[in-house]
Structures are given as structure tokens and as C-alpha cells.
């Protein structure tokens, strides 16, 4: 039923909010929490407070220390609110405060918020998925989030969010990874990208690379991160092509993909590039470093 301790999550987020807003804003939030968690709470109370949150707590960005990040991780593996705003955190507290003993009623309540949400609310709701009770009920909703046309909403569900890696169905996950590449967002920000590799995704990514090449377009070196573990004769041709690219990041990606593979010909191929192999083994080339550098180049 729970993927995170709700009380801990609440007090952690409240602490973060308290550092960036006025005491009146915090009082407003505490009052609403009392109202919503009480037995007399009405649906209207949640709707009004959830939508009005920015009016009372503002939209200042949360400020997290290294310690806070560790605390977030201890509350929920992969939870990282470092890009959240005060209003977003307050909205998360509000939806964690309503009665949730009955999973169906809780699903209906949260779905109603999703179905009538503005962009800021959608961002808050999708980013809160890794904290809310009954997470297994929200798989379809998360998949719906991937279908959005709004960049910020897509990022809320796909990036820095541990919910998809832990709960999303494989087909939806594969679409999410492919779409992240397709819209030019950073793969290394997808939490658990390594954990959810699968042969179908490797095939889809390779096909996508071929489409790009055929059109004379560049292919993100991050694409190969989910291909490496499934290298076979066919996919190895892609990696050979990658080694021949002038772009250093692509050659680095080729070396990393070979390293991820247990396919003997991939190891043999890597042996032909001794310097790259050496740098990988020294930890100088990693997927996260590649992702980071790509982001900085954009």
C-alpha cells in the first residue's frame, strides 16, 4: 500500500517549504492539512486548497543541501525534489493528507485532480507519484503522462522520478525512453534506466538510430545506454558504425555499450580500441558523464 512513509515525507517537505516561505503561508498549509485529514473533509476542500496553493505558499524553488538529498533518498529510493517549487511540495503534502484507506476512493479523488489540472498541477501530480499511497493503481496514469505535449509535464513524469522504473509496464517504459530521446531530453535523468533495459527496447532504439541515420540526422550517444546489454550480431553493426564516428562522445558510447555486453564479439571489438577501453576501466567514461556533457553542449 505504501511506497514511502507518508509522515516522514510530509515533515521533510514541510521543512523544505518552511525555509523558502513566510510563516503565514506555512500556517495556511498546516490548516489545510488539518482540514483535509479530518473526518469532515469535503471534496471541495481539497479542490480549492490544491488549486490555490501557489496563492498562499508561492512558487519559490526549494533549496536542498547534500544532506537533504540523502534524506530524500532514505525516504524513498530515487526521490529527488531538488527541482521542486514550494507550491509543488505543498500540493504533494495536500494529496498525501487526504484519507486514503479505501484505494478506489483515493484513486478517484486523485484522478479527478489529474483530469482537471492545469500545467503546474500536472507537474506536481506526476512528480508526486513516487510518494503516494497505492502506487500500483497509477500505472495507466503515468503512461498517460508520457503522452503529453507539454514539455514540463513530460519531464515531471519521465525525469528524476523513480515511479516509472518501479511501477510502469514495460511497453509504457519503452515509449517513455524512446520519447525522451525523440524530444531531446537527457536520458541520464531517467531514474533506473539501467534497471529496466529489455531486448524490445534495444531493438526499438536501434531502429530509431537507423531512421535518424537514413535522414542524415545525428543520433544521441545516450541512445546506446539501453542497447549495450543486448548486443548481438545485428546490433554490433551499429556499434561498429559508432566507433567510426568523428564525434568523441559517440565513440565513448560505443565503448561503454561493449563493456555492458557479455557477447564475445563485442569484447573483441572493444579490444581494438585500447585507449577507450582503458579510459572506461578507469571510470573516466560513464553514461552519466556523457549525458552531462551532451546537456552542456546544447
Amino acid at each position: 500500500m505504501y511506497q514511502a512513509d507518508i509522515n516522514q515525507a510530509h515533515s521533510f517537505l514541510r521543512d523544505l517549504i518552511s525555509r523558502v516561505i513566510s510563516t503565514q503561508g506555512l500556517e495556511w498549509l498546516d490548516q489545510k492539512v488539518t482540514l483535509l485529514s479530518g473526518e469532515a473533509a469535503q471534496a471541495k476542500d481539497l479542490y480549492l486548497s490544491f488549486s490555490a496553493a501557489p496563492r498562499f505558499v508561492g512558487k519559490a524553488k526549494l533549496e536542498l543541501t547534500e544532506q537533504d538529498l540523502q534524506k530524500a533518498e532514505s525516504i524513498r529510493a530515487g526521490f529527488n525534489p531538488s527541482n521542486w517549487t514550494a507550491a509543488q511540495a505543498a500540493r504533494t503534502i495536500l494529496i498525501l493528507s487526504v484519507q486514503h484507506q479505501n484505494p478506489e476512493v483515493y484513486l478517484q479523488t486523485i484522478e479527478k485532480l489529474f483530469n482537471t489540472a492545469d500545467m503546474g498541477e500536472l507537474v506536481a501530480l506526476y512528480a508526486a507519484l513516487p510518494l503516494i499511497p497505492h502506487p500500483e493503481q497509477f500505472k495507466k496514469r503515468a503512461a498517460e503522462g508520457v503522452r503529453t505535449n507539454m514539455g514540463d509535464v513530460f519531464e515531471a513524469v519521465a525525469l528524476n522520478n523513480p515511479y516509472p522504473a518501479d511501477h510502469m509496464e514495460e511497453d509504457a517504459w519503452n515509449q517513455m525512453v524512446l520519447k525522451t530521446l525523440f524530444v531531446g531530453k537527457p536520458i541520464y535523468r531517467i531514474y533506473g534506466i539501467e534497471k529496466r533495459v529489455n531486448p524490445k527496447l534495444a531493438r526499438m532504439l536501434s531502429d530509431y538510430a537507423h531512421e535518424r541515420w537514413a535522414a542524415g540526422r545525428t543520433v544521441s550517444p545516450e541512445l546506446w545506454r539501453s542497447v549495450g546489454p543486448y548486443l548481438d550480431d545485428a546490433l554490433l553493426q551499429d556499434i561498429k558504425k559508432l566507433f567510426a564516428q568523428p564525434n568523441e562522445l559517440e565513440r565513448e558510447a560505443a565503448a561503454l555499450a561493449c563493456t555492458q555486453s557479455t557477447f564475445a564479439p563485442a569484447q573483441e571489438l572493444l579490444n581494438e580500441y585500447a585507449t577507450l577501453k582503458e579510459r572506461v576501466s578507469r571510470g573516466e567514461i560513464t553514461w552519466d558523464l556523457i549525458g552531462n556533457r551532451l546537456l552542456q553542449m546544447n
Binding site: 527541482n83 492545469d118 505535449n149 507539454m150
Partner: protein, 313 residues
């Protein structure tokens, strides 16, 4: 069209019915912000879900779409008078309103008021005035096409009866016959420049010449009919041409709308004067992805090639 590079606001326009070309031309003509009142869609809705999705689009997709052209989109939310006549449906719509009225960028309850001036219209107009008072939002009033003068006066009297102060009410679609009553009572008087019915640009110039620029607001109400999304810039330009001072033009085509709807606390000049930091939070500010794009959206920038697209497909 806008030689002085005036910043303009169109505080009444139904962008849901307009194309991206309109957004582009509006931005190029100097419109920095618009308000889209909730209204009917040309034919009556028969299900409450249609209202829900419509309201959602006003605070969601339509706002996002506008942002892609460098225009700040606000809206007013309400049950319009025409559809108030389907009472069974109207009751359900009233239950929806609390989901929407406090959302970000909702600058008022509107457009509400009278159309045929029936008892049902009166009932839901009053209920929504009470809601406006409860949440402290301005009211945007649609005045009737027929029996206009009496309907306009009734609308204002009912507002007062429900404890709404005149400065919180924008009375829309005025003409030469109603403006005096509205201004004398201390309400905001908005004028719709609409090609066939309502006001024409020339007449608007005369109104401002006669009544000045205090509490007078110009809008287009452009929608699915023959209408013009550039009515505000065109009228501004004509006013300047006819010798109205730039300060007066700025008031009726920008500042008054901002002052009236800014009372919601949901609309302020900094929204468009500060660089286009639209939800940078998502753009990972601990990283250099925060790049460029920080040009203020003032002046003659072209929407498409300066603003970073945030549309994913």
C-alpha cells in the same frame, strides 16, 4: 500597426476558436497578455463533462499554446448565461466551478450575467456572484445583446445586492447608450470592437474622446464568428492617429485591464516583463541547460524563432 511599440492586453478573446497564425500576428502587433473568458462554444453543451474539459483546456492547453507565442494567457471561469437556461446541467456545472476558480491565472469569474434575462439566468448569475465574493475574485459581466441597457443596469444592481464592490466588476460589451450608467456607478466599462454587432473602431475613438480613459477598457471578443483578434492594436493605432494621447491609449488598451483583473492577485506586469523563465524549474537549474531564451518578451521579437519551444510530440 504599433509604431510606438506599446504593450497591449486583450482582456476578452476566445482563443480556443482561433489559430496559431492569430497568436503570431497578435504577438507581432504588441499584445503581451490576453484574458479568455469561459463562454459558450456556438452550440449548447449537453453534458457536464464537456464543461469540465473546456475549463481544463482554458487553464491547461490553451495557456500553454499561448506561451509558445510569447503571450501570457489568463482566463475567467464561469457558467455563461445562455447555458444557464439548462438548469439541470447548470446545477452540475456549478459543482465543477470550485475545481477551477482558484487555479493559477484565473483572474475572475466570467463571463457571466444575462442573455435573455430569464429566471434561470438570474439564479445562476447570483450563485456565481456569491462564489466570486467567497474567493475574492473580480467578476466579468457579459451584458445582453437585446434589451441591453436595462440588462446592463440590472446586472450592476444585482452585483451590489450581493455585496460585490463596483471596482471588482468589469461590465463588458458596452456601447454609447450604456457607458454613462456604468461609469457613473463606479464599475469598469469594457468595449468590444466586433466588426458587425457591438462597437466599431471609429466609434470607440469617439467614446474615449468623450469619456476619457478612466475605467474604460477595449477588447476584441474575437471568437468563432466574424471577428478580429487584432481589434485592440488596430483601435490603439486609430486612436493615436485621431489625436488621443499615448497615455490615454495605454490606459484603455493595457493598464486599465491590468488594474481591473490584477485585483485577482493572479496577473501582474512582471509576468511578461521578466524574462521568459516559464517554469524553468523543470529545466534543471543546477545545470547549464538553463540557457539563452532569457530575452524579455517585449518589443518586436518573433514568437517562433526566439522562444525555446516547450512542445513535445
Amino acid at each position: 500597426m504599433n509604431p510606438h511599440n506599446l504593450m497591449l492586453i486583450d482582456p476578452h478573446i476566445h482563443m480556443t476558436s482561433r489559430t496559431t497564425d492569430d497568436y503570431q500576428r497578435m504577438r507581432e502587433a504588441g499584445i503581451v497578455a490576453i484574458i479568455e473568458p469561459a463562454f459558450w462554444l456556438g452550440q449548447p453543451r449537453t453534458e457536464v463533462g464537456s464543461f469540465k474539459d473546456y475549463f481544463s483546456s482554458l487553464v491547461g492547453w490553451e495557456r500553454f499554446r499561448a506561451s509558445q507565442f510569447g503571450i501570457k494567457h489568463y482566463c475567467t471561469i464561469g457558467l455563461n448565461s445562455k447555458e444557464a437556461n439548462n438548469e439541470a446541467l447548470a446545477e452540475q456545472v456549478m459543482e465543477l466551478l470550485p475545481l477551477f476558480v482558484c487555479k493559477e491565472g484565473v483572474v475572475g469569474i466570467g463571463e457571466i450575467g444575462y442573455d435573455d434575462q430569464t429566471p434561470a439566468e438570474d439564479r445562476f448569475f447570483r450563485a456565481q456572484l456569491d462564489l466570486a465574493r467567497e474567493v475574492g475574485l473580480p467578476v466579468q459581466i457579459h451584458t445582453p445583446h437585446r434589451d441591453k441597457k436595462a440588462g446592463t443596469i440590472t446586472s450592476m444592481e444585482v452585483c451590489l445586492e450581493h455585496g460585490i464592490a463596483p471596482h471588482m466588476v468589469i461590465v463588458d460589451h458596452n456601447n454609447e447608450e450604456t457607458v454613462r450608467d456604468v461609469l457613473d456607478r463606479g464599475f469598469w466599462a469594457a468595449f468590444t470592437i466586433y466588426p458587425n454587432s457591438k462597437m466599431g473602431n471609429e466609434r470607440m475613438v469617439e467614446v474615449v474622446k468623450q469619456y476619457g480613459s478612466e475605467r474604460i477598457i477595449v477588447n476584441s471578443s474575437a471568437d468563432w464568428g466574424v471577428s478580429d483578434p487584432l481589434s485592440v492594436p488596430k483601435t490603439a493605432s486609430l486612436m493615436l492617429e485621431k489625436g488621443i494621447s499615448i497615455e490615454d491609449v495605454r490606459k484603455v488598451c493595457y493598464q486599465n485591464a491590468l488594474d481591473a483583473f490584477g485585483q485577482s492577485g493572479q496577473m501582474s506586469e512582471s509576468d511578461w516583463l521578466t524574462p521568459a523563465t516559464v517554469d524553468q524549474r523543470e529545466k534543471f537549474s543546477d545545470n547549464s541547460i538553463l540557457r539563452g531564451g532569457q530575452t524579455p518578451v517585449v518589443g518586436e521579437i518573433k514568437a517562433n524563432n526566439v522562444l525555446e519551444s516547450n512542445i513535445v510530440r
